[in-house]
């Protein structure tokens, strides 16, 4: 139904709220979250030290766990995550004005520091958080590369080095999981499908603030003795680790909550909140990517949850899931971990890949090539990815006879992945290649992801894997896919949607400088690491045989250039955000819905309910000006 309301109706954000609208929310923001979190954390620490410390073997682990859990709960109480559930329990449902307040009406910039249910605010919050996390992860990466500048370097002690390696890994994994599904699946996706918000706005805010509460636990590990076990935290090594490991586990458990609610939210939104006429056939590819990624996360994360819960019970209560002396086995952890681990790689990859396809259609001014096949490809990747986990365990000896089957499933994945490339080059074919900044990153994605894919085939085959497993070749391979592929796809997405999210254009010239630094940096860095791998340097070593020196020098040099590139890009984002030239509603002449709404996007996005009459890829078919909108929309 199209409302006949005139468009000059007052915007929702101009509603005059009742004086007490929002209730407790009025007094809650990140600051109170911090206060309550610290307070509760301190109380938890006090109680546990006084009552549990007596237990010699587990006392300190109990204390750490209790403290971290109290902090997480306290922070979420303070920021307002639990207001609505409690009110629901008590039967005092939020009124319309309460919800408008929660959506940020009448709070200006302050709403970015509150438990805000507006999907655009959450998306922006995510964007900033992701940039901060990448800053942290990148800093740690620089520590690693600096240590490896000389074979027997003493810059870091092996202890510090190992924990830096672990935390670099985990920070980057968390950041890459949320780097597209956070900012863009939240800000852009609902508008793309013609929705007014996500299906569960409060869960949306919850998913963000839980990550925020988890990050301090992760960084606290540096002050609790460090996590020496790598981001995989293989047991029993992680069962042996200092109390920092408990903080790590709490981080993961909290993060699992975040990804789960975010995944549910995304899937439900796309299934139920599409505008009139937005059939599945007309759904833009990026929304497909978000949905598949979200659904896959729902499958993957519980495995991580049980792995880390079992680990923490081993450490805190002395159970023995992973301690061989008491009947446990590391194989159990490794299975649980990789049942999560491999799907999780595609939770990271699929949304950016979909974003890249989306962007390609706009800058090639062409319909997406074989869009149904592309969707099939992504579904195929997701489906296969849950059957391949044991290829990470070819050399663990847990089940020698499963080598064949898992080789099969693993190599099958290269078929749907190949389809993605077909759709990409098919879309470029005979296009009008408009080489603006996002397109630069699309081409870089194309280049890197091929390399990442091909090197993956070596690893999927046993004879080569017996040599490459656990060596720098693997490191280079997954950095080419996750950084060179996924992160570059996310960079393209940032450049593409920046005008819509911030109302300003990203500076093109500075952007191109950062692009070339990043592009060249990646090639040098990981060429060096491939070389280390071929020559036989193991992963995660603080010192190495001088025979690997030249390869490490290459890699470190490239890494510095790469980091510099990201810094320039970050600077560009910040400065353009503050003072970039204003962008119109649709600077790229795109046909997807998010570009048809005014910029800045009003609360609830659409002044008039849209009616969709075509998919967003009618380039060259419908005239330039027209969009996928029907006459219902101005």
């Amino acid at each position: 139904m199209t409302t006949t309301q005139s468009a000059s109706a007052p915007l929702l954000e101009d509603t005059i709220l009742e004086p007490k609208a929002g209730g407790l929310y009025r007094h809650q923001h990140a600051g109170t979250g911090l206060l309550v979190g610290i307070a509760l954390g301190f109380i938890g620490w006090l109680l546990s030290t006084s009552f549990l410390q007596s237990n010699e073997s587990f006392g300190s682990d109990m204390t750490t766990t209790v403290t971290m859990v109290s902090w997480v709960i306290g922070f979420n109480i303070g920021v307002g995550s639990f207001n609505a559930p409690i009110r629901w329990l008590l039967g005092h449902d939020q009124t319309h004005h309460d919800e408008l307040y929660a959506a940020g009406v009448g709070q200006g910039w302050k709403r970015y520091f509150k438990f805000c249910t507006d999907h655009k605010v959450v998306g922006t919050q995510y964007l900033v958080l992701v940039m901060v996390l990448f800053g942290v992860g990148g800093t740690l990466a620089m520590m690693i590369r600096t240590q490896l500048l000389s074979p027997h370097s003493t810059f870091l002690s092996p202890e510090t080095y190992n924990s830096i390696v672990s935390i670099h890994g985990m920070v980057m994994i968390i950041a890459t999981i949320i780097m597209v599904s956070g900012p863009f699946a939240n800000f852009v996706m609902p508008i793309m499908i013609g929705a007014k918000d996500m299906a569960f706005p409060r869960l949306n805010a919850l998913s963000f603030w839980t990550v925020v509460s988890a990050v301090p636990c992760l960084l606290a590990t540096f002050f609790l003795g460090g996590v020496p076990a790598g981001w995989t935290t293989y047991a029993p090594l992680s069962a042996q680790a200092p109390i920092a490991m408990d903080a790590f586990a709490i981080t993961i458990i909290t993060f699992v909550v975040s990804v789960t609610v975010a995944g549910i939210n995304t899937v439900v939104t796309i299934l139920t909140m599409r505008a009139k006429g937005m059939t599945f056939g007309r759904l833009p590819i990026f929304t497909w990517g978000s949905m598949i990624g979200g659904a896959l996360g729902l499958y993957a994360m519980p495995a991580f949850l049980i792995a880390q819960s079992a680990l923490i019970t081993d450490r805190v209560t002395g159970t023995s899931f992973f301690v061989a002396a008491q009947g446990g086995t590391g194989w159990l952890y490794e299975n649980m971990f990789w049942i999560m681990g491999h799907p999780e790689v595609y939770v990271i990859l699929i949304p950016p890949v979909a974003a890249v396809l989306e962007i390609t259609t706009v800058f090639a001014r062409k319909p997406l090539f074989a869009s149904k096949v592309a969707i099939g490809g992504m579904v195929g990747i997701a489906g296969l990815s849950i059957m391949v986990w044991a290829h990470h365990m070819f050399t663990t000896g847990w089940a020698p006879n499963l080598g064949g089957p898992f080789m099969l499933t693993t190599e099958l994945i290269s078929i749907p992945t190949g389809i993605i490339f077909l759709c990409l080059i098919g879309t470029l074919w005979r296009g009008q290649i408009w080489t603006r900044l996002p397109m630069f990153f699309v081409y870089l994605f194309l280049w890197n992801f091929i390399i990442g894919g091909v090197t993956g085939i070596y690893l999927s085959d046993l004879p080569a894997d017996q040599y490459f497993h656990g060596n720098m070749f693997v490191t280079a391979h997954f950095h080419y896919t996750l950084l060179g592929g996924a992160m570059i796809g996310a960079a393209a997405a940032v450049c593409f949607w920046f005008p819509k999210m911030t109302t300003r254009m990203l500076n093109e010239r500075v952007g191109k400088v950062s692009f070339w630094m990043i592009a060249i940096g990646i090639q040098i860095t990981y060429y060096g690491q491939f070389l280390e791998g071929f020559e036989g340097m193991p992963r995660r070593v603080a010192n190495y045989d001088p025979q690997f020196l030249h390869a490490n020098l290459i890699s470190s040099a490239g890494a510095y250039l790469l980091m510099a590139g990201w810094v320039v890009m970050a600077y560009n984002i910040v400065s353009s955000w503050r003072s970039g030239e204003m962008a119109g509603a649709n600077p790229w002449g795109s046909k997807t819905l998010e570009w048809q709404v005014p910029t800045p996007v009003p609360l609830e996005n659409f002044l008039v309910e849209p009616i969709v009459v075509a998919d967003a890829y009618g380039y060259g078919e419908t005239p330039q000006t027209s969009t996928q909108l029907g006459e219902g929309h101005r």
């Binding site: 002690s157 202890e159 510099a564 560009n572």
Partner: protein, 228 residues
């Protein structure tokens, strides 16, 4: 152009921040108060008709790293009472290809090894060590205080491997200042120039397999030997 100037300054700022963080992490490395202990020069000695530069090193293994050594110096500042530690330092320096005589005073108690093999003396001159005056090639794997196990970093002295088991004190006598510590003496020919690593292979830490705690924290039962 102005934008690029700002970008450059952003880069400089980032570099400064990275440097600061780097220094912070670097400062986390444990620095023993005694610094690098340099082996004492004892002139030259003849072994199998070959003349070697002769040096000696004196170490001790204490049950309580938070305590002090007989000379009153702290063993391991900020150490944990239930964690053992080597003293006076965890960093040593010996000349290359020379005859090194090491004397270790063992003040700690003992238990069985994870891997009985480390109860065997390996890599010393004629494969023996002298424990309280008796020359032995092997001691009981069920009663080990600590071990002193040393080898080269990757690419250094690949032929060099040294392992000497240290017998325990009986439980009641254990103390940082026990009157009669077990005294273990042994000699070995140091390898070529380079950086070597030493550690204890006896599970004297906490947690799984006794290799957590002191064993996994750099500076207690682990360190480096610079061969110059």
């Amino acid at each position: 152009m102005k934008k690029f100037a700002w970008a450059a300054s952003a880069l400089i700022l980032a570099a400064v921040l990275l440097g600061a963080v780097g220094l912070g992490f670097s400062a986390q490395t444990y620095q023993p108060p005694a610094g690098v202990v340099i082996a004492r020069d004892l002139g030259r000695t003849i072994l199998h008709g070959k003349s070697y530069h002769h040096v000696s090193l004196d170490l001790s293994t204490y049950p309580d790293s938070s305590g002090v050594q007989p000379d009153g110096k702290p063993i391991h500042p900020g150490g944990n009472p239930s964690w053992p530690a080597y003293g006076p330092s965890n960093l040593f320096q010996v000349p290359a290809n020379s005859y090194v005589t090491m004397t270790i005073k063992q003040y700690d108690s003992g238990e069985p090894l994870n891997n009985p093999w480390f109860a065997t003396v390996a890599g010393t001159v004629d494969g023996t060590a002298t424990i309280d005056g008796k020359r032995v090639h092997q001691i009981s794997a069920d009663h080990i205080g600590h071990t002193f196990t040393m080898r080269g970093l990757p690419g250094v002295g690949s032929k060099f491997f040294l392992n000497v088991p240290l017998p325990p004190l009986p439980e009641p006598l254990v103390a940082n200042d026990a009157k009669h510590p077990r005294i273990i003496t042994f000699s070995f020919i140091s390898g070529p120039k380079g950086r070597y690593v030493w550690n204890c292979e006896f599970p004297c830490g906490q947690s799984v397999a006794g290799f957590g705690g002191a064993m996994s924290a750099y500076g207690f039962m682990s360190g480096y030997v610079n061969v110059v």
